[in-house]
Assembly symmetry: C2
Homo-oligomer: 302 residues x 2
Amino acid sequence: MTPLPTPQQLRFLTALADHQHFGRAANACAVSQSTLSAGILTLEHQLDAAILDRGAGKRVVFTPLGQELVGRARMALAALTAVAEAADAARAPLTGPLRLGVIPTIGPFLLPRLMPAVRAAFPGLRLYLREDLTARLVERLAANRLDALLVALPCDCGGGETLPLARDAFVAALPPGHPLAQAEQVPLAALTRERLLLLEDGHCLRDQALAVCGLHAGRQDEFAATSLHTLVQMVAGGLGVTLLPQSAIAGGVTAGTEIVLRPLAGAGAWRTLGLVWRPGAPRAAEYRALAPVLAGASCPAG
Amino acid sequence: MTPLPTPQQLRFLTALADHQHFGRAANACAVSQSTLSAGILTLEHQLDAAILDRGAGKRVVFTPLGQELVGRARMALAALTAVAEAADAARAPLTGPLRLGVIPTIGPFLLPRLMPAVRAAFPGLRLYLREDLTARLVERLAANRLDALLVALPCDCGGGETLPLARDAFVAALPPGHPLAQAEQVPLAALTRERLLLLEDGHCLRDQALAVCGLHAGRQDEFAATSLHTLVQMVAGGLGVTLLPQSAIAGGVTAGTEIVLRPLAGAGAWRTLGLVWRPGAPRAAEYRALAPVLAGASCPAG
DNA sequence: GGGGGTCATCGGTTTGTCCGATCAATGTAA
DNA sequence: TTACATTGATCGGACAAACCGATGACCCCC
């Protein structure tokens, strides 16, 4: 039978795929170029498989089989680190590095309150943050380049395990002097008759706002905002109305503007802040332990 | 950071979990007892985790963390072998060992025709067969103790990837001289008024026959058969009627009896023979290549 | 045609793994 | 209680493998 590849060999392989260059890959693996070259050679020999296309000049070109092996090597290395991580998690819960992805409609407003709370509860935890759209975060989560995500549900989390944290109510944001501002509350139906400003495509807040108003998601805007801050400025400029999450308001997104905020009539509407991770992640128990702290610090109503 | 565990260490760990005994585990790993003992010790030291409960006499007792690490070790080793298997599969498709699970209502009747066809098409393929109920096969497939399953769809394949192979029509099997035998075809509705004999619980054929007749699956039988052969004998003895798959009849399950076979009226009814494997299995492409051969040899109508 | 750059190859050194023998602890039978 | 058998842990020495630095072969660009 074919001998099992060494983890080191798989590291060499993935590094080579990442850098497309023997020297830099070797540097990333903290070995000499000769070692990495020999490692790849022996791997090819042991598996009896052509991983690199060595006919194509001096460039690093992977064969189709090589590409597949790279993917499987990544999986194997992830499974291997999962063993070590499970041990780490059991020994010292909620310590060490944790790579957390946050969506742009949460990050700037909630993190200033979340981080101190997390630091106080788990002083040993080092949160590495990455802000991006949900889809990109989910992609990185699946590729094992993030450990967990802080997103707004419902969303397409690509099979990840999700844990709801807190409700984040939507509030109507109106230009100063807008007719709807005269009432204490704004009915949802009234909003649909206004010119509803939204974030650009890709932001889950856009889809959720549309869903709340009962509009179809495929709608084309003449001018979509790229962030909540610019969206607020457009509303303040009288271009239309919008829905803002309570957490963003608490985070000061409307500070310095004359925007009028009105709660929605009836049962209201909200998004749910949630934590997402890969199913079966070694540190899943830690994420569950982290959730109450996040929920306690994120609940906009206190 | 915690150093990654060696594959050898993980082998030691899983072997120890399998055998619950250092000496036998070491033997299974083809190393000396001292080596395995030292290997487990260094693993515990490197991960800084208590894997074994060494307070409990001389017995091998795993801590809860140890149990989890064993599971993750199995996954990591499987992912590691998957790399090698992917290389094997690309180098020599449909050769080497393949562990195939088959359900009891397919195995005895179809395999005598399937095996020669497979041998002719892929001389290098060595099929290791295991016959069991669908649920147990699915369990073994998930545990990486089987590579693929030959089952009857629809069934609960536990998230496995399925590929339909061929239709296997149901035929009414009646005792000699039964009133329904006078017609050329038997309407399904007529069967529900008869005393319908079935296999015992756990056989998917039982559930499929009930579904075909529009009966509820929870039904209790006074006397359920344990195999198609005994079921046929009971029908021949006049105890009732049943549905038999065409493939089993072609396989000679009714040979030597006076049972009367009649096709079902109308569109008829059938089960679908299908191949199942783990999603993302390294040899998935091979299973797809194997399918036409299986389908060609299994189609009862030729 | 020279020079920089890139990957493969070669000896020498170091590191780590494994084995056999032995020790300590436990459980069992006389 | 004593003697024995079994089991897991420890130790020193031998072997193998991984790694490094230097060098070689090749390509591309100037």
